[in-house]
């Protein structure tokens, strides 16, 4: 196992398009790093540059302290799991998994031991003689994992490995991959566009957009302190509410006004908003921090009540989501299943002001969390 170092990595195509711009990241040994972002953000390109499947046009890539920019993929000691599995259709499950070791001319008994061990871990023992065409999506996925494990590489790269599976299997495999990471103590770099996968699997998450790294942090930090509007909107489902609000002052306290609503900002956040007096900023609040009058209020510091007209009501089972129009914007809120709010009804909501985020409208950067 090993650490990686990406220094000013860039990818510029012959037509001038920059797929990845100045990507800097230190990955420690045994980390589970997630690259997440919308399609076309450069996450897969970065992964493929690490694998050696794409040329790095600028910057330095080090694996275990050694510069590998010009090292052949096979000599980088990495294994990759592809989105479409990329199994060898003409080989049995056993041969698929044995192939990398066979090419490295490992002794037969050693290959056999490694393949059977991987098959045991991944519950593939009964499928060893089958061809990939006779396997289900989930089984193929496990074979692809097996092929990676057998080699015991320094780094595992996974390119949206679960995106072709159905929802139930995806949850199951997600747990399997998490277990696998603990068990192998491996360095894993995992690409996904699914923020749930990112949040549940990663030790750190890299959020990307348009080839530019936006923020690198632990899942909890990323959720609690997104560095800009994009990260705030991308991480979390349903996504954070954004409302354009004007910074003001009332009785010596800093306020945010939108429509006829005015909420008081707690002391701790007020200082950062000083320079924005009289300007329009973007207030961000997660749906679970928008509470309906008396519900979930305990232990929270709530804002002034805001009158809201419910437009959509979604029962999720234990909870419900309410989408409502307020003067000056719209909000979504988690309410209890017992809450009588329904489409068309009027409710009163309040923001948990300690959880309020404020972003600069021009630069989109966070002002305060």
């Amino acid at each position: 196992m090993a650490g990686l170092s990406l220094e000013h990595i860039g990818k510029k195509y012959p037509n001038g398009y920059e797929g990845v711009k100045d990507f800097n990241l230190e990955i420690a040994d045994k980390e589970f790093i997630i690259f997440v972002g919308p399609s076309g953000c450069g996450k897969s390109t970065t992964l493929r540059m690490i694998a050696g499947l794409e040329d790095i046009t600028s910057g330095t890539l080090k694996i275990d302290g050694k510069v590998v920019n010009d090292v052949e993929p096979k000599d980088r000691d990495i294994a990759m799991v592809f989105q479409n599995y990329a199994l060898y259709p003409h080989m049995t499950v056993y041969d698929n998994m044995a192939f990398p070791m066979k090419l490295r001319k490992a002794p037969k008994d050693q290959i056999d031991k490694a393949v059977r061990e991987a098959a045991r871990i991944l519950d593939l023992e009964k499928l060893l003689d089958r061809k990939p065409s006779a396997l289900s999506g989930g089984q193929r996925q496990r074979v692809a994992m097996g092929r990676a494990i057998v080699r015991a590489p320094k780094v595992y790269l996974m390119d949206e490995p679960l995106s072709n599976l159905d929802a139930k299997l995806r949850v199951q495999m997600r747990a399997e991959i998490s277990k696998l990471h603990d068990r192998l103590g491996a360095t894993i770099i995992y690409v996904t566009h699914d923020q749930t996968e990112a949040m549940t699997l990663g030790t750190r998450i890299v959020v990307m957009k348009d080839g530019v790294m936006q923020q690198v942090d632990t899942p909890s930090k990323l959720y609690a302190e997104p560095c800009n509007l994009f990260v705030a909107g991308f991480i979390g489902s349903p996504q954070m509410n954004f409302i354009d609000a004007t910074v003001g002052e009332k009785g010596g306290k800093t306020t945010l006004s939108f429509g006829k609503n005015t909420i008081t900002v707690p002391e701790a956040k007020a200082a950062a908003l000083k320079p924005y007096q009289g300007k329009v900023v973007v207030a961000g609040i997660r749906p679970e921090d928008v509470v309906e009058s008396n519900e979930y209020a305990e232990g929270r510091r709530l804002s002034e009540p805001i009158d809201a007209a419910v437009t959509v009501y979604e029962l999720l089972g234990s909870e419900a989501m309410v989408y409502a129009d307020v003067d000056g914007g719209s909000v979504s809120s988690h309410v209890s299943a017992a809450n009588p709010a329904r489409s068309g009804s009027r409710i009163e909501v309040a923001f948990d002001v300690d959880k309020l985020h404020v972003f600069d409208k021009q630069t989109e950067l966070a002002i305060v969390h």
Partner: protein, 289 residues
């Protein structure tokens, strides 16, 4: 009523199908099946192709096996066919791999390599005949290989391969393009490069194309005719007499109509047998993808 309408519609459609099918069927029978059966019947006669004839039973067939000229033509044809089939397939596969890689002018080159396919075999034959008779000797200072009983067959093979590569390459290109890119990428990471990549990944995955090409090219090569007519007329000293050429020449111009009909029947059975054996053997090598 609905059923009736349906039935009427159905019979209308059937009539349309019949109107398309029947003329084709009639023409096919008239020019293929009837001559085949007639030829088979003539193979039991001593017909010269004209005038009266007698039924002589299996005499023609027995004579065939002791006829040195016929045996020589079989040896020549199979030698040419085997060498040309292997040559065509190896060269086409190399060409196809080159043409499917990331190179400049790919489309133009693909078009260029397909040109031999659209030229008539006779035209190509005469051009190469000129090439081997005048140009090559002028450069090398030796006599034309078309005049050599020992080497004339090589000239035939060269022309056959040159022309057959066009279509064979196209089929290999299709086969190569059906191999998913990520399988190659996985192989590159697993350590398969160069010869290993070809041996373990590319070749097994294009095996269906190999089968198709082997069978089609072999069949075409066994029936070699135009190139013989245009380049050597079977010579020198009958050394390049292919089976088709012998059947045509002696059957229609040499007064051996019945005898060469028997030869044609044997030839037909042989080609069918070779194709079936090839398909069976190669299919067993094909992977169930």
């Amino acid at each position: 009523m609905a059923n009736l309408a349906k039935a009427k519609n159905g019979s209308d459609r059937n009539r349309t199908f019949m109107m398309i099918l029947i003329p084709v069927l009639v023409i096919f029978c008239a020019f293929n099946t009837v001559p085949l059966i007639t030829g088979f019947l003539y193979s039991f006669t001593d017909s010269k192709g004209y005038g009266a004839f007698n039924i002589i039973g299996l005499q023609n067939y027995m004579d065939l096996f002791s006829d040195a000229r016929v045996l020589n033509s079989y040896l020549f044809t199979f030698k040419v066919a085997v060498v040309a089939t292997l040559g065509t397939n190896i060269i086409s596969l190399i060409l196809a791999m080159g043409l499917s890689s990331k190179i400049k002018f790919k489309s133009a080159l693909r078009g260029l390599y397909f040109v031999p396919r659209i030229l008539g075999a006779l035209v190509v034959g005469y051009v190469f005949s000129y090439f081997f008779t005048y140009i090559v000797p002028a450069i090398t200072g030796t006599e034309s290989i078309l005049a050599s009983t020992e080497w004339a067959w090589v000239a035939i093979v060269i022309v056959l391969v040159w022309q057959a590569c066009a279509q064979t390459t196209i089929i290999y290109l299709t086969g190569l393009s059906s191999v998913p890119e990520d399988v190659y990428e996985a192989a590159a990471l697993d350590g398969a490069t160069g010869w290993n990549k070809f041996r373990y990944i590319t070749f097994p995955l294009i095996m269906p194309s190999v089968t198709t090409n082997m069978v089609l090219v072999m069949k075409d090569m066994l029936m070699v005719f135009d190139q013989i007519v245009s380049m050597t007329s079977g010579g020198p000293a009958q050394s390049t007499e292919s089976i088709s050429y012998l059947i045509y020449n002696n059957g229609l111009a040499g007064g051996q109509f019945g005898y060469q009909c028997a030869n044609a029947v044997i030839f037909f059975i042989l080609i069918a047998a070779v194709s079936i054996l090839q398909t069976k053997f190669l299919n067993s090598k094909e992977e169930q993808l």
